[in-house]
Amino acid sequence: MTEPRLLDGKPSHLGAEGYREHVARLGHMTQHGRALLESVERSGLTGRGGAGFLVGRKWRAASKRPGGVVTVVANGAEGEPRSQKDSLLMATRPHLVLDGAVATADALRAREVVLYIGEKHLAARQAMGRALAERAEQKRLAMRVVLAPDRYVAGESGAALHSVADGVALPTSAPALPALVHNVETLAQVAMVGRRGRHTGTVLVTVAGAVRRPGVLELDASATVQDAIAGAGGAAVEPRAVLLGGYFGTWLDCHRAFGLHLDPAALKEAGLSLGCGVIGLLACSRCAVCETAGIMRYLSAESAAQCGPCFFGLRALADACTRVATTGSNVADLTRLQRWATEVRGRGGCKHPDGVVLFLLSALTTFSTEFANHPAHGERQSA
């Protein structure tokens, strides 16, 4: 018998799996409380929201905190523009996410589950709301939905907590709540561990850009980037580079990217990360510098504008990229880009500037030829 996966069962265009279908497909969770904590630790499950931290270690640390965990937040903000995997998971397998959230709350003796869902993810909101109404846990555990505004930083875990506690979806330097935040895919995997003692060994990815059928795929962790692209119908045109991990990710040359395995541990060893699970393919026909400048402008505008180095620094970096894109390569801007990127890193209240800098530095490396020889052709396209 083949191993069950998160998205097995009816195809996603048929909508949400109801509670009965869900139980018929997977049965009930058999492990709870301490046994689940131990299984999660043994499973080696890592978070799927971007940071890739070991879930078991996070639980263990949280359970040792004075006062413990009061709230478990299922993070489905998914502010990353190209990512669809969290909203698809919530829209089609809401009970798997709820199973994981409830079991996490149970194992850590939390009193409340908050479903933090991006306000623009309408199908996900509807499915999660309906799924909540179908379940009995509501009676013994407070469960509610909080909507995340459509902003990039709203999904940052500190911002999620700030939003849940105070209605302000901005990162904060003071911990807002005794809470634990997990990405919804992570919680779906917790639900699997609670049934089988191990996670599915699969990852959800969103394949975007120059592929024939962009969308969400569930792939074995042993699959490669090339498999993901093939799963999305293959490259539609000749590809120039791969953006691995979305806007906080890394630009890679195709020859380096295609052979990489999606396994979080293997990627970490290579100094990379699947991040939010977006694999973007850039066509040769598109200008890498203009593309990078467009994404930099977006990311700098998405700064929460709370910390000077992020607010001013990212804007200056985006402006310098834009100058190279519009008026052509110049040594002054290329030098500034390197220096500012190094100086801005690590100097925000959240990881927003760090993610942006990682993205930019990978662009400067992978597209070094393009950045050094960019003509003053104006911008052909924006992201």
Binding site: E343, G346, R347
Partner: protein
Amino acid sequence: MRHDLGLQVDRIRCDGHGLCAELVPELIRLDDWGYPILTDSVIPRPLVEHAQRAVDACPVLALGLRRWRTTDPASRGRRS
């Protein structure tokens, strides 16, 4: 035994007044927008007093001293 000390800044509070860099330029310089870049190391003993003066002078109470734990690499890059 006295603990080694390092500097830390609450980035959200910091408004870039820049007094800190005036008071301990050995440990703090300003970026192109006037926000502090802290040295990522233990404050040498002779400078601790000056660092404390910079902490006291911060108009928005963003700058602080922290214990420097050399054994904990995870604490190194944080909020520096």
